[in-house]
């Protein structure tokens, strides 16, 4: 069954026809051509496909596309400002060595964004909790946690 849905994507209203079995990830990477969101497992286990739907970090590979009707979705493309301006979270990931192969990075950054938006000064344990669904095979997480901690205070001022 096909259905035409509309939602807010990175601040703009979009219309797209989706199949009933399609997940948000396939719609983002397919018809909407936003390949910044990655598919690492397709089963909600790795977090590479994390996007933010109405302020919550979700696995877009498990999220039925139908259900974003009327909602607001942010992908990694939406976090980057005009003229290639990186958000301070993205910047902190770059300068702290939190990125290696980079495949987990968009999801990791959006999980961080959702965390800091709701909890601007998280403890180490809260950071680990918020990122526990995002797998990274390269970094051992140490520099990722450092990046999140570094940005935490500054993110608060920006809010």
């Amino acid at each position: 069954m096909k259905k035409r849905i509309s939602f807010t994507l990175n601040g703009s209203r979009v219309f797209v026809t989706v199949d009933s079995h399609q997940c948000l990830l396939d719609v983002l990477r397919g018809p909407l051509r936003l390949t910044g969101t990655k598919e690492g497992c397709g089963e909600g286990e790795c977090g590479a496909c994390t996007v933010i739907v109405d302020d919550l970090a979700v696995n877009s590979c498990l999220y039925p596309a139908f259900e974003v009707e009327g909602k607001s979705v942010m992908t990694i493309e939406g976090l980057t400002g005009p003229k290639n301006k990186l958000d301070i979270i993205q910047e902190a990931f770059v300068t702290n060595g939190a990125i290696q192969c980079g495949f987990c990075t968009p999801g990791m950054i959006l999980s961080t964004k959702a965390l800091l938006d709701s909890n601007p000064e998280p403890s180490d344990e809260e950071i680990r909790d918020a990122l526990s669904g995002n797998l990274c095979r390269c970094t051992g997480y140490v520099q990722i946690i450092e990046a999140v901690k570094q940005v935490a205070g500054r993110h608060k001022n920006k809010l």
């Binding site: 690492g40 286990e45 290696q100 680990r128 909790d129 995002n134 797998l135 095979r137 140490v142």
Partner: protein, 796 residues
């Protein structure tokens, strides 16, 4: 010591911003016009004869463009021993064997079509452990060798053997002996970006393939051979490496899925993309081999090692990849970690009907160091010595040649051991805690290339443009490890330009000079050494141009400046006379006279010089190429002798753990890693390499295991195959880098990509022994094994 402008300072990744913005393009993101999607039909049995394949229904499915099997395509043989076929004929030998493949206009149709292919099998008895496979009369995985000669057993025709000194004399001299059988499990590399490729032919039948590879040039050779097998003689392959979602050894071989994409692309005349799902990655991509090691070591009454005897048995699986040469690396710690004179090493590899294995970070070294360093602790205990003191006593030292003929140049092993002992508070913690313990383990690894192929070389091209930009073409592969960061630093440092002016071009066999591949921790070592050579060559070319053009251009500068600033008083300086090549210096992109006045108008922008050289009669532009083959040797592995690397990396890791005797759970309280890296090139990237490797080492030690039941992978997802998450790395990790400034290393540096996971498992196991007195000998150290061992300990 020379002061460096960029080396030794934090260098964020050049591709960092793109990756952070989701703009880096992995194979999953690439599209080609008219591209089709390929899907493979895998075997339903671990060992069976293929009786019949019916593809008719699949062919009729709308949207399907090609269905191929071994029956309608040319035979393509590949693999280290050429014992593997792109599409299997007559027989399947493992569950993941490729029996057919489809190209269709979308991935769903391709998947549906593979399900419509019906294959009739006659199941055969299989062999699922190397012990089983070695028995007389065991079913043969391969009845013939690739040349068609009959085979009578399942052993691989690969020999790895070493004997030095006098083993029996070493045994007689030993007062204390320790022996043990150790084993390691199958583990998966778990790249976050799964494997895949796009194959495309042009109308001249030359192939372009976007491949997730670490060996673009050896892959080119393999693919050209396949083209020849397909009847496309003298046709060429261009291998382009997109952004890689991790490598960890998965890219050291060419794979059946790549040959299948090539066959489908040729058949359809359209580009074909094959990308593995996560499940396919777990079940159909080769993991790290499992291994069985029997080790006996002895020492005299003073604790000096007198002999080491090692026998290794490897489950190779059904086909042979480069990973089958793991014992070539195992031989290195076996003969050369700690000073030991009388050594016996022998490794056997056996075909089974299990998934065939390939390279993974460390390449045999974690497997072997697991046995060796666990056994070192056992021997220390038998000799009544402190394991730290015991290691110090037997430590390698600079400028020594080991029984295998490894020429150790610099060696920071003692410093690494001391650092770990100090940071772990060894004196106060070893043998002190109740259910808490400390342990350590060390490593030796190739640090200056690793010659397992006849060439260990690498080339590099520096191309200057009119703007003073430096375009770099290098065949090494950036897979996340940070190669392009250090290469940028090395070019900027040794040429004398700012890092922002250095542009590393994508790895492409059509544009980059040859490189054997990015493996053996050789990336930074090779890239930076080639960068230094190329920069030196380019500097002399620049200074040669400057002899003629520098005085003219600087004169123009001065005149212009005088026009605008009539009061300007130019310095008294004879430009013509000073303009000699040996008097020039290039720094931050400016050329100036080394011993001349420090005056901004007396220096010349590099771009300006290059434009002056370009835009004149018989103008010229500068491009430089170098090719560097490191001073190491291809060992004779049957004799076990040869200096495989030009320098060696050392390191020691320490763990403090707490064991829950009720649940068997091991909690890591602290890790310390001290590594002899020669010289720190980029602290940011170096830390990332060690942290990341350490996390992989912890997974290897405590929980990662690809479970195989009669050849079938039982846990092909991240639910059941556990890799470390943020919660697992919740303890302090202390890193220390020992700088030994190696004479062969670029700026003194040694390779460091693999060492970080080599000694992690035995360090943890030794800490567990210190905590509760149990010795686990098979990885991973699960709570069940700990509980079982504790119960046994209580009974005894």
């Amino acid at each position: 010591m020379k002061d460096f402008c960029y080396i030794g300072k934090n260098a964020p990744r050049p591709d960092g911003p793109d990756k952070a913005a989701g703009k880096a393009h992995y194979i999953h993101d690439l599209q080609r016009p008219g591209m089709l999607y390929g899907k493979i039909k895998f075997s339903a049995y671990p060992h069976a004869r293929i009786k019949h394949i019916d593809t008719s229904k699949a062919e009729r499915l709308p949207g399907v463009r090609a269905v191929i099997t071994a029956n309608n395509t040319p035979e393509i043989r590949f693999g280290l021993l050429r014992d593997n076929l792109a599409l299997k004929k007559e027989k399947v030998r493992q569950y993941r064997d490729e029996v057919a493949a489809v190209a269709a206009i979308d991935p769903d149709i391709a998947t549906e079509a593979t399900e419509l292919i019906k294959v009739e099998y006659e199941p055969l008895k299989g062999v699922f452990s190397p012990h089983e496979a070695m028995k007389e009369g065991a079913p043969l995985v391969h009845e013939t060798d690739p040349q068609g000669r009959p085979r009578t057993h399942n052993f691989l025709p690969l020999k790895f053997h070493h004997e030095s000194g006098d083993l029996q004399a070493g045994k007689r001299a030993a007062k204390y002996v320790a022996e043990g059988d150790f084993s390691t499990q199958l583990v998966q590399q778990c790249c976050m970006g799964t494997a895949g490729c796009i194959a495309e032919f042009d109308m001249n039948n030359n192939l372009t393939i976007w491949a997730k590879t670490q060996i673009p040039f050896l892959a080119q050779r393999d693919f050209n051979r396949a083209l020849s097998d397909m009847g496309l003689k003298d046709k060429n392959t261009r291998v382009i490496v997109p952004t890689l979602g991790g490598g960890f050894g998965t890219g050291l071989d060419t794979h059946a899925y790549e040959y299948i994409a090539i066959l489908l692309a040729y058949q359809t005349g359209q580009p074909v993309k094959i990308v593995y799902t996560r499940k396919e990655e777990f079940t159909n991509l080769s993991p790290r081999q499992s291994s069985h090691t029997r080790i006996i070591q002895g020492c005299d009454q003073n604790g000096k090692l007198t002999f080491r005897e090692v026998q290794v048995l490897q489950d190779n699986g059904a086909y042979t990849s480069w990973g089958a040469t793991y014992p070539s690396v195992m031989m290195m710690p076996a003969t050369s970690l700690y000073r030991v004179a009388n050594v016996f090493f022998d490794a056997k590899l056996v075909y089974t009907n299990n998934t065939y294995c390939q390279a993974m970070r460390g390449y045999g070294n974690p497997e072997h160091t697991w046995a060796l360093e666990s056994n070192m602790d056992e021997l220390a205990e038998n000799a009544g010595m402190d394991p730290f003191e015991f290691r110090m006593l037997n430590s390698n030292q600079p400028d020594e040649t080991t029984p295998m003929g490894l020429k150790i140049s610099t060696c920071g092993l003692k410093e690494c051991l001391e650092t770990v002992a100090e940071k772990l508070d060894w004196k106060n913690k070893h043998k002190k805690g109740k259910n808490r313990g400390v342990g350590m383990a060390s490593l030796i690894h190739v640090g200056g290339g690793g010659r397992i192929y006849r060439s260990d070389a690498s080339g590099l091209i520096l191309k200057l443009d009119d703007f003073g930009n430096v375009n770099v073409y290098h065949g090494g592969v950036e897979m996340g490890q940070g190669l392009h960061s250090v290469l940028t630093q090395a070019v900027a440092e040794s040429l004398g330009v700012r890092p922002e002016k250095v542009f590393i071009n994508p790895t492409d066999t059509g544009t980059c000079p040859w490189d054997v591949g990015t493996h053996a921790s050789r990336g930074a070592f090779m890239a930076c050494n080639t960068a230094i050579l190329a920069a030196n060559k380019l500097r002399s070319q620049i200074f040669e141009l400057a002899e003629e053009l520098f005085p003219i251009e600087v004169e123009k500068n001065l005149k212009n400046h005088l026009k605008k600033n009539p009061g300007y008083n130019p310095p008294e300086f004879d430009l013509e006379k000073a303009a000699q090549r040996e008097r020039f210096e290039l720094q931050d992109g400016y050329i100036f006279i080394k011993d001349g006045p420090r005056e901004p108008r007396l220096r010349l922008d590099l771009g300006r010089l290059l434009r002056a050289a370009h835009f004149r009669q018989q103008g010229q532009m500068l491009t430089t190429e170098v090719f560097y083959d490191p001073p190491n040797e291809l060992p004779d592995f049957e004799k076990g002798y040869g200096n495989i690397s030009s320098t060696y990396a050392f390191g020691t890791q320490g763990a403090e753990v707490e064991v829950d005797t009720e649940t068997g759970e091991v909690r890591i309280l602290r890790m310390v890693a001290a590594h002899d890296v020669g010289k720190v090139l980029n602290p940011l990237g170096l830390k990332g390499q060690i942290y990341g490797a350490l996390a992989q080492g912890i997974g290897y030690a405590l929980y990662e295991e690809l479970q195989s039941e009669k050849g079938k992978i039982q846990n092909p997802d991240f639910r059941d195959y556990k890799i470390p998450r943020t919660h697992e790395i919740n303890f302090p990790i202390h890193l220390e880098f020992i700088e030994t400034n190696d004479r062969f290393g670029p700026f003194g540096a040694k390779g460091v990509a693999e060492p970080g996971l080599v000694p992690t498992a035995p360090a943890i196991a030794n800490a567990i022994y210190d905590a509760v007195g149990i010795r686990i000998r098979d990885l991973p150290i699960t709570p069940e094994k700990v509980l079982e061992a504790l119960q046994k300990l209580r009974k005894d």
